[in-house]
């Protein structure tokens, strides 16, 4: 039922509005700034779509795991490691052309992300250690490793910045606005969205195929619904858990193509910026269906870009966005029954009247 998430969303925004009022600002004003900044211009759209791309990847990552009954909170760490993979692949392989580099980076990112999900997956499957905690810990560990590498090993000499050198031009992938220019019209000049968006959409489609059209998807969903039944049917929990987490981590890792290769064109410290966590909300709002996820990702892209504009043009602190996102996750994710049950009762009553 599509109505539930919408109402939940409305509630989340209503409370956010109260918070904004509480800190003495005008919600209407804030909303206007957000909408104009994020959707009011092709430039705004360009940036909104950039964030959307991130969230599609992480949202899909969470969703795939969720279908197998696994709760992957590790998107953050997996995307971080994916960034490492993308960076190494862009820095140390002499790519002839960006198209090849793009493919290479996508593979590298996915590989690193997948490997980072492998250990928690194995621990869950073999030793039953709770994947939620292990993935959280792996987020921290990934961050520590990255900081170490960036400030000690990968940082070019004399640079202050704990970041890698810039990637060679051959690995610079065109932004959507550049594609637009090639096709001879001006759209969102210098905005951040880039060709990775298409990869994201492709992945969304592939995930749909995987989940509802392949044997693996069938087994994965069965396992997610009932482990005893899965074992009865000869589906190996260990195998499914590990494969699922590899796919999930791979998707999260692939996000790096967008933010590392597409945007900063070098690897910086906090490149992921919570996308891993927002993936949870995106997946939930999207009811773990690729189409829903793309839409939810668009919403969160809007939130983030709008929030940026907010801190750009108003005195509302940037933390407001964290609050709004928290509320959205709370209402769409944890409190959805609060909305759904009354709705269902309502419709049930309707049906009884009719029938």
């Amino acid at each position: 039922m599509i109505l539930t998430p919408l109402i939940s969303l409305a509630l989340a925004f209503a409370i956010s509005a109260v918070v904004i009022l509480a800190i003495g600002e005008s919600p209407v004003e804030a909303l206007k700034v957000m909408v104009e900044g994020a959707l009011g211009s092709s430039y705004g759209w360009g940036n909104t779509l950039y964030y959307t791309t991130n969230y599609i990847f992480t949202g899909l990552a969470v969703a795939v795991a969720y279908h197998a009954g696994l709760f992957n909170i590790g998107g953050e760490g997996q995307a971080t490691m994916g960034g490492l993979g993308v960076a190494l692949c862009c820095l140390f392989i002499p790519w002839p052309h960006w198209t090849l580099a793009l493919l290479g980076a996508a593979v590298a990112g996915a590989l690193f992300g997948a490997l980072w999900a492998l250990i928690p997956a194995w621990l869950q499957a073999k030793r039953g250690s709770h994947i939620v905690i292990t993935t959280i810990m792996f987020n921290f560990i990934a961050y520590n490793i990255l900081t170490h590498l960036l400030s000690k090993t990968l940082r070019p000499l004399g640079s202050m910045d704990p970041a890698t050198a810039n990637f060679p031009p051959a690995t610079h992938i065109p932004g959507l606005w550049q594609l637009a220019e090639m096709m001879g019209f001006a759209w969102g000049k210098h905005s951040l969205a880039n060709v990775t968006l298409f990869i994201a959409l492709l992945m969304a489609f592939l995930v749909w195929v995987l989940i509802w059209r392949t044997r693996l998807g069938y087994e994965l969903r069965a396992f997610g619904k009932s482990e005893p039944a899965a074992r009865y049917a000869g589906i190996s929990p260990v195998r499914i858990t590990i494969i699922t987490m590899l796919i999930s981590g791979g998707l999260a890792g692939m996000m790096a193509v967008n933010n590392v290769m597409g945007m900063s064109e070098r690897l910086i410290l906090n490149a992921v910026e919570g996308a891993g966590f927002f993936g949870i909300a995106v997946a939930l709002m999207g009811r773990n269906h690729p189409v829903g996820i793309v839409l939810a990702a668009l919403l969160f892209g809007f939130l983030f870009q709008g929030g940026a504009e907010l801190s750009l043009w108003t005195s509302i602190p940037r933390e407001l966005i964290a609050v709004i996102q928290g509320l959205v996750i709370l209402f769409t994710g944890a409190l959805d029954n609060m909305v759904r049950l009354p709705l269902e009762r309502l419709f049930a009553a309707r049906r009884r009247k009719e029938g």
Partner: protein, 306 residues
């Protein structure tokens, strides 16, 4: 109007960004002009922010923090008529003024003072997140200490390897206690929000601390030996005053140009003996004259003395 962009630390980091904010406020107060300010929220926004400001005709645009360097290289050329000033990094563009500070020099002096103020002959350094910039402070400091007292011991701690390390006063406090137990009685904190905890605990434990970036002497009068101030405020003030005809090129803010200095005011005045003052003056003179060249960690990622 001019514009000022703060780095992710946020303008109230009690040190670097806050200093820049002070400068801008001072300019506002003295000239009655108005300026546009904004805080970064995410890496992705840096470019966005620069472009949006440039397009709204802000000039000059001052940004704090090396993290802007790469973006500025990209954006600068697109707005030739806009002047940019970047603090803590070098960007070689016709319309960019690069302002870099000689932290090693200031920290060197802090080291000299610390060595003299220490009775135990052991002093401490507490860095925030373990990143190169902070090693720059550390290295200058150690050199100063050793120069003043070759067999002095310097205990070095970093708070962490994640941004949380900038905001962990609890751990900062524990580090002070740990260092104190090893004999340290003067501790230099270059750790943003964590530094608050360091200075606090040092005061609680009645040992001396040294603040950083902006003048923190007033936080615990008589307990903070001094502060190694980077006059970010001055450079912002100057940039704002210069306005549209801000002259491009590299601007090194060192002792000579009062870009870095030790804060001496009524709060730490009782702690500073004449001979300390003398030693500091002597050292700074030597540095200005180029007789002493505190090694810059960034040049080779190593520090000559340990």
């Amino acid at each position: 109007d001019p514009a000022l962009i703060f780095d992710l630390g946020g303008k109230f980091d009690k040190s670097f960004n806050e200093a820049a904010y002070m400068g801008a406020e001072r300019w506002k107060a003295e000239t009655g002009g108005s300026y546009k300010e904004l805080e970064m929220q995410s890496e992705a926004q840096r470019e966005q922010a620069l472009r949006r400001l440039a397009e709204t005709g802000a000039n000059p645009i001052v940004m704090t923090g090396f993290a802007f360097a790469e973006v500025l290289k990209k954006v600068g050329p697109d707005y030739p008529d806009t002047k940019f000033a970047i603090i803590d990094a070098e960007v070689d563009l016709p319309n960019v003024q690069s302002i870099v500070f000689a932290e090693p020099e200031g920290s060197y002096l802090a080291g000299v003072l610390a060595a003299m103020a220490s009775k135990s002959g052991t002093v401490g350094f507490i860095g925030g997140m373990d990143v190169p910039l902070i090693h720059k402070f550390e290295c200058g400091y150690v050199q100063g200490v050793k120069a003043q007292n070759p067999d002095a011991k310097v205990i070095i701690n970093y708070t962490g390897t994640t941004p949380a390390a900038w905001n962990d006063p609890v751990k900062g406090g524990e580090l002070v206690k740990a260092q104190k137990s090893q004999g340290a009685d003067v501790i230099y904190a270059a750790a943003g929000g964590t530094g608050i905890g360091v200075l606090q605990t040092a005061a609680d434990e009645s040992i001396l601390s040294i603040g950083v970036d902006s003048n923190q002497n007033h936080l615990h009068p008589g307990k903070v030996l001094t502060s190694m101030v980077k006059r970010v405020d001055n450079s912002v003030f100057d940039a704002f005053t210069a306005g549209a005809d801000l002259e491009p090129g590299l601007k090194v803010m060192d002792l000579a140009s009062d870009g870095v200095a030790l804060a001496m005011d009524e709060n730490n005045q009782p702690l500073i003996t004449p001979e300390m003052q003398a030693a500091v003056d002597k050292a700074s003179a030597a540095i200005k004259a180029g007789e002493i060249k505190p090694h810059d960690y960034m040049t080779d990622n190593t520090c000559p003395v340990q």
